[in-house]
Symmetry: C2
Subunit: 282 residues, 2 copies
């Protein structure tokens, strides 16, 4: 009987002539590691059949509006890992994190200081920040694309009770690199648990929650675009975010402030939260 | 910035408390190897997005009648590897190979010597064999389940022109452990090339052909069941079978014989091929 190592070597030998050199590197590494996995755990045929059935269910749950494979990649930490190896740098720029499934390409353009939330979306939050170079110089005319979920844990694209564009917007920085808007304090929410990946997360003994965060895509001519989050330092799940998206430098303290809140956002007009985040672009 | 290795360690740390101990071993090994793959090749986000799109397409091609994920596993050598690690033994039994997607549970029972093919299915072949213990003793009343493709490369379940049960049957061995039937000489055929896995195989610069083979499942009370093939020693693709199913000890010479062929199988009734295979059960 040939050994598992010999079989793997035979399969690799069949992939020495892959025409595209990058594809050759990728497929040979993938075969090496998938085979090492099956050999190491002595995977049984029944277990692999269960794996095939799981992947099939993930495929069948995936459509134009929901990608269960991205959720699988996210919950295994693979999306964050690819984000990390694809952007690895020590130039001092702000760290990135996953895009997630709720970004939209055509978020409304907003003026700085605009209100992007409704009173029922949560506690008022004044969000301020600057876009800077790695040398600390302000970047004017940078685009800051912001999006987040409501107090119910839903994005506008998931929630028929929200107007499209609610809790999202694109801002341009001023001469000092600054932007600001009025929104709500983010809350933790669970990733979808009604599909095969939700069942997997439960079987793994893990919870399905993401730590409270606001999403950002920051771009400016001549700089590398940045996709990231800011996290609420007081949020639950910072140590156990289900998609492993939290990075130390992206956690921000939220301050309680006494002052005037725009009327369309708040019933209590004289108290709000404030969160600041500078973004450094390479 | 944390390193890829630190991120992988964090993800593994989140899987130390998986309740089912076997699932814990499997998921931790899978995460380790998937992360090592992405880190080693410095997978880009665009490449991983292409990977997600590929897996989605594989899922969408999969239904009750066709499992593109099994084909993916087969073409990456993973099915054969799992077969190998799940059955690794040096007890001297006949080696196994993949079941494939065309086995059916309720193949017709046949008498030894039965004809299971039509004249248009190929060149007449008298298939004989015995089922033996590892000590060489015959096993009577063993079940030998046989199935194969026609000269067109199609199994009955794929081909509306074949009657269900054509080119398949279940036989019982006699007191000498023997069985025999009249069928046709197998020919190479390609795996399905109209789906994403077919496109992948083409992009890898590989052909989609399987070496000519007949499938067997052999079982007897008190013995481990065996799923295997016998391959025609003169077939093309023995060295490059697309699913890596060929094993040296499963290759059989086919002899040309002068003699009488059952009338319902042949127009040329006085020449046929003969293939013999003994199966040793542990």
């Amino acid at each position: 009987m040939i050994s598992p190592e010999e079989l793997t070597a035979n399969v690799l030998a069949s992939h020495e002539e892959v025409p595209d050199p990058r594809l050759r590197v990728i497929i040979r590494s993938l075969i090496t590691h998938l085979h090492a996995f099956a050999t190491e755990v002595v995977l049984t045929q029944d277990e692999w059949a269960a794996g095939i059935a799981f992947l099939t269910a993930v495929g069948h749950m995936t459509d134009d509006r929901r990608n269960e494979f991205i959720l699988l990649s996210d919950t295994l930490g693979l999306s964050m890992l690819v984000d990390l190896v694809d952007h690895y740098s020590d130039a001092g720029e702000t760290e990135s994190t996953v895009l997630g499934p709720f970004w939209v390409a055509d978020a409304p353009w907003r003026e700085n200081g605009a209100v992007i939330a409704r009173p029922e979306d949560g506690d008022p939050l004044h969000l301020t920040g600057r876009v800077l170079t790695t040398g600390g110089e302000p970047i004017a005319e940078a685009i800051v694309d912001v999006w987040q979920a409501s107090a119910k844990g839903l994005y506008d694209v998931q929630d028929p009770e929200q107007t499209p564009g609610n809790l999202r917007g694109r801002f341009r920085t001023g001469a000092d690199g600054g932007f600001d808007c009025w929104t709500v304090r983010p809350v933790p929410y669970p990733v979808p648990t009604d599909g095969p990946v939700g069942k997997m997360v439960a079987a793994l003994g893990r919870h399905p929650w993401r730590a409270a965060h606001i999403h950002f895509r920051v771009s400016a001519d001549g700089y590398q675009a940045l996709t990231t989050h800011l996290f609420d330092a007081e949020s639950e799940y910072l140590d156990s975010d289900v998609v492993f998206g939290v990075k130390e430098m992206l956690i921000r303290s939220i301050r309680r402030v006494e002052g005037v809140v725009p009327e369309e956002l708040a019933s209590k007009r004289f108290e709000y939260f404030e969160m600041s985040g500078d973004f450094i672009l390479a």
